[in-house]
Amino acid sequence: MVFSLSYVQVRDVWKDYVIDKIKVTALRGVNLDVGKGEFVALAGPSGSGKSTLIYLLSGLDIPTRGSIVIGGVEISRLSSSSRALWRRRNVGVVFQFFHLIPTLTALENVLLPMELAGVPPARRVGRALELLEFVGLRDKAGRYPWELSGGEQQRVAIARALAANPPLILADEPTANLDYENKIKIVELLKEISRMGKTVMFATHDVELARIADRIAYIRDGMIIGFEGGSRDTR
């Protein structure tokens, strides 16, 4: 597959953290281009900088140096609140520990981003139920997070990420806490989402799982050390 235009452009991105007065450099001059609709895996061991890159791409954090342009918007230059507003319609994030809001049901967790993005109220419940149907959990819409299994929670989290119909889905180790069967289910879902035309990037330390993606960016010690193309059929 050839992508003529980069939807995500990461240019010479550095990220330093200061932990207990010690400077730790998490990313060292990362360059990355991801096309629209591409399904990319960020593969690397723990502490390699995958999560940091996901946080920067989602606008939750800003680079110490370098630029990140997504969909033509240089998010690294936006203020904290502008990034939050941008995030509402442009990114859906899936976390390793699912992070569903405990005081809301599965349905409400999916409704929440729609309310934030200003989706007309009349369309919200229908769409939320469609998304729960898509992840196979329509019958559990009224359940609270603690009443769902880990795999089910992660599927609700994916539905939540899709709720505001964002063009970019970022997932940080979405399968790390799941058994094999659920891991495959989740990655399949992500792949299906990319087939819907959305750009999907997920971080994983599992190289085998990464191979399901269209392209793998290998990351180590805060640097992208190589790419690998091609996709493996999971069926």
Binding site: A84, F97, T103, L111, L112, G150
Partner: protein
């Protein structure tokens, strides 16, 4: 040991929580302890000052020299000092005064300050002393002024012309007048024919029994006892008044102490719930209750201990500073008191409050411990995601208001935060409302005093008569002849100290002439006409829970109990309502009343004037008409001035409440902020996830603001319960200051400037601190932290 070290490390590392706890404990100790220390010192000083004048027992009348010698021989009597105190009328206005020789004055009034001029040096000079804080005329003659002084002597009134050379002030006063006129001792002795009119006894044993014995000795030797008082530390009437006045401050500040267990329980719970997985791991490793206590309760106790220790050390010194600068009123008197009595730092009181605060904080810290102990290991360890607790099922969201629902569900799910804030804000609002409820009661009272359809007198006249009983009848005839006097009620007063438990002076009244409805309008029952019957005020009836037919027991200064049947309840709206109207027979039996010797008879006259638009003018005319028609001294107390006195009390209570509420709002802000900060810290990852979904800081702050406002509304019932409880207690404990006032315990009392301002200040300050905390939240760290 490792866990103990970890607990202490937590105290030093989590500086914000430590500072909050130390401050709250500090305020919770300092506020009540410093006031209690001042109260204790004042009570001691008042007692000692009172003792200067009256000793342990004081009897007045005519004390023969032989009786004095006999009294000195009694085994229980350590010392018996006879003195000549006369009564008389001073100046053109004929103000009633006590009169002492200069030698007696120096001996008995050990604490006074000369404000102007000097002491007397010759027999034609006079020093005029006026006691502070005692009701009565305020005007003093000027230094250098020539004044006339009528002394009531055994041989009749004696008139002197004297020059005022000095003006003095202090706390003590003699009898019903705030004035003491000091003249040459030898001159007074000559006028009084060397009659000893009072004896001060220092004794051991039962004071009341000894008073009775002394009375028998005096009367057995031809003497006469007209009045007596026993001065026991626990029943001293002036000490009771000081106690009442200080209770306005000391009772509400107890709410400060109540905030400490709320803080340790609420913040402790937030942390235990956040750490439930860690608790589960600890329990899985075999950790028991003791270790959980060290980890989840000890840090709070150590922090409170630090604050309480600081409070314990500083409270006595803060009390002394407050006492010296704010409590006595006048600098020179304050210094004189300090020099005379010193200031007892009362470490015991400070230690008591410090221990109470630590103890309550300990109890609060046990709640997180119980929750930690009950953590289900399997559930907690297998739990993934954010749900460290279970959310309530609220089924009203259908696609709208999901964010709003989230914030409200959060309040129910994190009940420890909501409850902590609710109790804190409830205590704050309750404290300020209690003072308002009490002052509203006073204002309602003022309203009734001003309402001529409910109370009928225009003024109360206190008439001192320097003559025999025939002048009482002449006064009555005079009042009936004055066309501008519509009606009057004349009665004779007699003060009984501490005759009803918990109450200071009670004024017994016996009828002389006139219409009793003018001063004592009946609410129910009738006026007493037989022996053993009494009419009480509504306030006293409420305070003592008396109904018609009930028996009121009075104990006189000799320890004898007199039983009086309540036959009537009246609306008495002056002088705290401590007047008991009894028949002449009862009056004589209880007081042993005999026409006084060497002392003016005092009668009280409630008058109703024809033209109520000209009360002040007519009162001045009445005063002049009476004082020119005989040996009368007249002091007037108008209906308006009575209303003003209660209004002033209401304003004072409001001012004190405002200051207390402001202090409480500081404590409440610290408590509320600490609760919210610990909540934000405990759910930082949840906030981070919300941020990842596009929620901006402002929306998070609005969410917390909504929670604050909802909690404030929810705290109203708490505030109402707290304020009612404090107000009832205040009404009972301030009875000697204002009389028993039925507080206005309506909900409207919760919404006044005094109550709302500290609440708003607390909410604004807490939301500001919340906003700063939210803005400083490290989203990435919260998400990365495993």
């Amino acid at each position: 040991m490792i866990l103990v070290k970890s607990a202490f490390r937590m105290v030093t590392r989590k500086k914000l929580e430590t500072v909050a706890f130390v401050l709250v404990a500090l305020i919770a100790v300092i506020a009540p302890a410093s006031l209690a220390i001042i109260k204790d010192n004042l009570k001691h000083q008042v007692y000692e000052l009172f003792k200067d004048i009256s000793g342990d027992v004081m009897l007045t009348g005519r004390i023969p020299e032989e009786a004095l010698d006999k009294l000195r021989e009694l085994e229980e009597v350590r010392r018996a000092d006879g003195m000549t105190i006369a009564f008389g009328l001073l100046g053109e206005r004929r103000v009633q005064v006590a009169i002492m020789g200069n030698n007696t004055f120096d001996t008995f009034l050990k604490l006074y300050v000369i404000k102007e001029g000097r002491v007397i040096k010759s027999s034609n000079e006079v020093l005029v002393y006026r006691a502070m804080f005692v009701r009565g005329p305020q005007e003093l003659p000027s230094v250098g002024e020539d004044v006339s002084l009528t002394i009531i002597s055994p041989r009749g009134p004696v008139e002197l012309k004297l020059k005022v050379v000095g003006l003095a002030t202090g706390f003590n006063h003699i009898g019903p007048t705030p004035f003491i006129v000091v003249i040459d001792g030898e001159l007074l002795n000559t006028i009084m024919n060397r009659t000893v009119t009072a004896v001060k006894l220092e004794v051991s044993g039962d004071l009341r029994v000894l008073a009775m014995k002394a009375k028998s000795v005096i009367e057995g030797r031809g003497g006469l006892v007209t009045w007596h008082i026993v001065n026991s530390r626990d029943e001293n009437p002036v000490v009771l008044i000081v106690e009442s006045a200080m209770n306005v401050m000391t009772l509400p500040v107890l709410t400060f102490i109540a905030m400490t267990p709320i803080l340790s329980a609420s913040v402790g719970l937030a942390i235990v719930v956040r750490d439930s997985r860690i608790v589960a791991v600890m329990k899985a490793l075999g950790v028991g209750l003791r270790e959980l206590f060290v980890t989840y309760s000890l840090p709070w106790i150590v922090r409170t201990l630090l604050g309480a220790l600081l409070g314990f050390i500083t409270s006595p010194f803060i009390a002394r500073w407050l006492y010296l600068n704010y409590f006595v009123g006048e600098d020179d008197i304050s210094r004189a008191l300090y020099e005379r009595f010193g200031f007892n730092l009362e470490w015991g009181i400070s230690a008591y409050y410090a221990t109470l605060v630590v103890g309550l904080s300990f109890l609060g810290a046990l709640i997180p411990l119980i929750v930690a102990y009950r953590v289900n290991v399997v559930n907690a360890i297998s739990m993934v995601g954010l749900h460290a607790y279970r959310a309530p099922r609220i089924g009203w969201s259908k696609g709208r208001f999901v964010i709003l629902r989230m914030w409200f569900s959060d309040m129910v799910a994190r009940w420890w935060k909501t409850l902590g804030l609710m109790l804190t804000l409830g205590l704050l609002l309750g404290l300020s409302s209690s003072g308002v409820m009490l002052s509203l009661g006073l204002e309602e009272w003022v309203g009734v005093v001003k309402d001529r359809s409910l109370t009928f007198f225009d003024a109360i006249l206190i008439v001192s008569i320097a003559g025999d009983w025939s002048y009482v009848d002449k006064l009555s005839e005079l009042l009936e002849s004055l066309e501008y006097v519509k009606g009057y009620y004349m009665s004779i007063p007699y003060s009984l100290a501490s005759s009803i438990e918990g109450l200071t002076f009670i004024e017994l009244r016996a009828p002389i002439h006139g219409d009793p409805t003018i001063e004592f309008p009946l609410i129910e029952g009738r006026y007493p006409d037989g022996k053993g019957e009494v009419l009480v005020s509504k306030g006293l009836a409420s305070y003592k829970n008396l109904r018609l037919g009930d028996v009121l027991r009075l104990r006189d200064s000799f320890g004898l109990t007199h039983e009086l049947k309540v036959v009537g309840i009246s609306r008495v709206y002056h002088d705290r309502g401590f007047q008991l109207l009894v028949s002449w027979d009862s009056f004589k039996e209880i007081t042993g009343y005999k026409p006084s010797l060497g002392r003016a008879s005092v009668v009280k006259v409630a008058v109703q004037l024809e033209d109520q638009a000209k009360v002040e003018v007519l009162l001045e005319r009445l005063r002049e008409d009476i004082s020119t028609k005989g040996p009368y001294g007249v002091d007037t107390l108008s209906r308006d001035s009575i209303a003003e006195t209660f209004k002033a009390s209401s304003t004072t209570i409001k001012s004190i409440t405002a200051i207390m509420s402001f202090l409480a709002s500081v404590a409440a802000t610290i408590v509320a902020s600490a609760i919210v900060i610990s909540d934000i810290s405990a759910k930082s990852r949840e906030v981070a996830v919300l941020t990842s979904l596009g929620l901006i800081d402002r929306q998070v702050i609005v969410g917390y603001t909504l929670q604050f406002l909802t909690t404030t509304i929810a705290s109203i019932p708490v505030a109402y319960i707290v304020s009612r409880a404090i107000t009832r207690l205040l009404a009972e404990r301030t009875v000697n200051l204002t009389g028993y006032i039925e507080p206005v315990t309506s909900l409207e009392a919760l919404i006044t400037t005094i109550t709302i301002t500290p609440l708003i200040l607390t909410i604004i300050a807490s939301i500001t601190i919340t906003a700063i905390t939210v803005r400083r939240l490290d989203i990435v760290r919260a998400l990365s932290d495993l």
